[in-house]
């Protein structure tokens, strides 16, 4: 009994303890970023604090610089930036929306904008995005069903159009293997056969320590990047506008793309490279980050990757490489990379308390000067503003080669331009996907390439039909015809039947 008495609590003290815990929890819950350092706007009434979320890690120097310049130019506005580098920005935005704490300005995914619009989470920018402002962008930058809905503008394109992946050559490895032109520059592969011959020569000269080709597939599938790079230009449309379901051939509206001969031929060649030992043996064990470092250290001579590789290599002090933007099968360019019209990047929250200041920041981010700094200083990619993309003003040859490759990207047919309702047709992913199959072929887990890809076509078709039916049941007027562009000439820019600017 005495023990019990020692440890007994009065009802009052227990309730007081509970209230304390509850109060602490409530304080913790109320401690949102908005009530912390972001308070001057609310307390002072002069300084507006704009919360900004993005997921740009390697572009951070540019973002920080732009924030600094903007705040200098707009002393009444503070940008409070949060970099959500987890890769799940959309989930975090969803949680923020549920908690009523959306950032004022945020990066939005192409395939999610329509849902944010439907949920009333994004601000209609039409009041600000005047025709005059729109015309600072190239024609077809603001498009119904892409970054506008019901005639209202919600976002804008930031990056321009460039080849999504490139082939990189390690100049030193090429020189060591004797792959040099008479003028001392390294030999550039013009067709698939060149790549095979170069890889063979590098591997032979490397005596087991240097290989012709390499990649890092362990974190996520990289082999499809190789397929994509080599198939583009070889007579089949590989890179297509975003609203085209993967594997669908817009010329017929059927899922036959992945069994067309450039795909089958390249995959067969890739397996041949593996069998002949031209590919770095640990390519499936390492990830892309590590493979880039191996490439920089000269463990292999060629790698496929995006322009995002370049800043990392510069940090490593590795700049002696060449960028190749297209290698068609037989050297003759029969097709291009294809892009759609418009795209999304930033959006403004519908619940922002400072819409005018948020717009000012939005406009700054999208401005031509910011775009020029993005291209020429950061070398982060290609800007939507063509004036910012002059290769002659870029002081680093491999990046200038990448920017010059933008001419290989042509307007392509885009179902959502013909019928904006097609954005409601969302086929579910299939397993195994094309990406999975590429890995399975490389490891030997899949033996019959044609059978696997044919089955993939069938699975994609099945999911597409399901998605189409579902959209129709939901009342959207969509059909397979929206996806058929029988008159498309792969060698010419596709002419879109849409206004050049909204409200013009």
């Amino acid at each position: 009994m005495s023990n019990n008495r020692d440890f007994a609590m009065s009802r009052r003290s227990l309730l007081a303890g509970l209230a304390g815990v509850g109060g602490l929890a409530a304080l913790t819950a109320c401690g949102s970023p908005g009530s912390g350092p972001a308070s001057p706007a609310r307390s002072g009434g002069k300084q507006a604090v704009i919360t900004h979320w993005d997921k740009w890690a390697s572009q951070e120097p540019w973002v920080k610089k732009e924030i600094g310049l903007f705040q200098e130019a707009n002393p009444g506005v503070t940008i409070q930036r949060t970099m959500q580098a987890s890769g799940n920005l959309e989930n975090l935005l969803d949680l923020a929306a549920r908690g009523g704490d959306m950032p004022d300005v945020f990066m939005v995914a192409q395939d999610r904008l329509d849902e944010h619009i439907a949920q009333g989470r994004v601000l209609d920018l039409s009041k600000y995005a005047t025709l005059e402002w729109q015309k600072t962008f190239p024609a077809h930058s603001f498009v119904e069903g892409v970054n506008a809905a019901g005639g209202k503008i919600y976002s804008a394109p930031f990056e321009g159009y460039a080849t999504d992946v490139q082939l990189y050559l390690n100049n030193q490895v090429f020189k060591d293997a004797g792959l040099v032109e008479a003028d001392g520059t390294v030999k550039i592969p013009k067709n698939w056969n060149d790549v095979t011959l170069f890889a063979e020569q590098i591997t032979k000269k490397g005596n087991g320590s240097v290989h012709g080709l390499g990649f890092g597939n362990s974190a996520f599938p990289i082999i499809p990047w190789w397929v994509n790079f080599f198939v583009n230009g070889s007579g089949t449309p590989a890179t297509l506008p975003s609203s085209t379901p993967g594997g669908l051939d817009p010329r017929t509206g059927k899922f036959t793309l992945r069994t067309e001969s450039p795909y089958l031929d390249f995959l067969a060649l890739f397996l041949e490279w593996r069998d002949k030992g031209y590919i770095f043996p640990q390519s499936l064990s390492i990830d892309d980050e590590i493979s880039r470092q191996h490439f920089a250290r000269g463990k292999f001579g060629m790698i496929v990757g995006g322009v995002w590789n370049q800043p990392g290599w510069t940090d490593l002090g590795f700049t002696d490489y060449t960028t190749v933007t297209m290698v068609p099968q037989d050297g003759r360019r029969k097709s291009f990379f294809y892009r759609g019209a418009g795209s999304v990047h930033l959006a403004v929250s519908a619940t922002t308390k400072h819409p005018d200041e948020a717009w000012e920041w939005f406009k700054w981010w999208y401005g031509q000067q910011a775009g020029t700094r993005f291209v020429q200083e950061l070398k982060g990619g290609v800007s939507i503003h063509p004036e910012a993309n002059d290769p002659s003003k870029i002081d680093f040859a491999p990046f200038a080669q990448f920017v010059a490759g933008a001419e290989l990207v042509l307007p392509g047919p885009q179902p959502s331009l013909r019928n904006p309702a097609t954005i409601h047709v969302v086929p579910k992913p299939v397993t195994p996907s094309f990406e999975d199959i590429c890995t399975g072929l490389y490891t030997g887990q899949i033996k019959d390439m044609r059978a696997a890809l044919t089955k993939l076509n069938e699975d994609l078709e099945k999911e597409f039909v399901k998605a189409l039916d579902k959209a129709v049941q939901e009342g959207h007027k969509v059909s397979r015809d929206d996806y058929v562009f029988a008159d498309w000439d792969l060698g010419k820019p596709y002419k879109w039947d849409i206004p050049e600017y909204l409200g013009a």
Binding site: E115, S285, G444
Partner: protein, 329 residues
């Protein structure tokens, strides 16, 4: 005798009322601080474990990509899809293999090392304990990245002795070959979490009274006999807990697989939690847009949870029966 016993139990006089069970409030008040200490854990568990479980139960019935409110009710279709999905069963088989191999090997190693480290004559035993426990407290992300780098850079050196013995003709791709990847992950898993079980066993060994060993020695028991007749029975209770935790923890392996292989190549090391993650969040970082399927992920997670529940209940039942049988004999 029976009468006496009865009298003792029920003394003469008016029939005594059975003792009243104290009310819930009285019991809470009597042990107030104990409940107060438990409260933060209960609140956190409720908020971050119980609530999400209950909330995601609703999602299993919807086709939902995680944005906005779920509206597309599909009934039990998500569960049907999971049950019919060969890749789910493949991931379950991999998780089962991981468990079946890792648990016994790790427990035998942990027990052996605990016996050595429990020797009072061993010099520097604290240092060794810290060293063996170090991998367990190191971030899995760091472990994964470092080991990936090591295997990438020194994989050929590791393969060389095997090639010298004529066991292999090509350098092993530890994480890239579907035949070796799961075994590599298992080996790393054994090393990585060995420290926990080592500490549990050490704690268990230290609860066994030394008198028992001395008595057994006086009775002429040798080292092996003392191990079998004193150590093993003394570790039985803690051993059951260790086995339970090891099995459940191994079946739920996620972070190690995610960091090392992401479940690849071509699902060769896919386990249930990487399967669920892929359904819920797509293939993060690929640039390939895949629609998240929170409904399907929730259904897979629930179905797996049910399987674990059945397994755990079966284990508990089997142990109970074994104990009952032992007590009868």
């Amino acid at each position: 005798m029976p009468t006496t016993q009865l009298d003792r139990a029920h003394p003469a006089g008016p029939a005594a009322e059975p003792p009243r069970r104290p009310s819930v409030w009285r019991r809470v008040r009597a042990n107030g601080w104990s409940y107060a200490y438990l409260l933060p854990f209960a609140v956190l568990t409720g908020a971050f474990t119980v609530y999400p479980i209950l909330a995601s139960l609703g999602y299993t019935l919807y086709d939902w990509d995680g944005i906005g409110e779920p509206t597309d009710f599909v009934g039990l279709a998500n569960f049907q899809e999971v049950v019919a999905d060969g890749y789910f069963w493949n991931s379950l088989a991999n998780a089962a293999l991981y468990t079946v191999v890792l648990v016994p090997v790790q427990l035998v190693l942990a027990l052996a090392m605990a016996l050595v480290l429990n020797n009072p004559k061993l010099r520097g035993s604290t240092f060794y304990r810290a060293i063996y426990f170090l991998p367990a407290v190191t971030s899995i992300a760091i472990v994964g990245i470092v080991l990936k780098l090591m295997l990438a850079n020194f994989g050929d050196a590791l393969s060389a002795p095997l090639a010298g013995l004529g066991l292999i003709d090509q350098p092993l791709q530890f994480l890239g070959d579907p035949d070796t990847v799961l075994w590599t992950v298992i080996a790393i898993g054994i090393w990585n979490t060995l420290g926990y079980n080592l500490i549990y066993f050490l704690a268990g060994l230290q609860t066994i009274p030394k008198d028992l060993y001395e008595a057994a020695q006086l009775d002429g028991a040798g080292r092996f006999a003392r191990f079998v007749h004193v150590t093993v029975p003394g570790l039985r209770n803690v051993g059951v807990v260790i086995v339970f935790l090891a099995i459940i923890g191994s079946l739920q392996v996620f972070d190690l697989v995610m960091v090392l292989t992401g479940g690849g190549p071509f699902f060769a090391s896919d386990v249930v939690n990487t399967y669920v993650y892929r359904q819920a969040f797509g293939q993060v970082g690929t640039g390939v847009v895949t629609e998240p399927d929170i409904g399907l992920a929730s259904a897979a997670s629930f179905f797996f949870g049910l399987l674990l529940l059945v397994l755990t209940a079966g284990q508990m039942l089997a142990i109970k029966k074994l104990r009952a049988r032992k007590e009868r004999t």
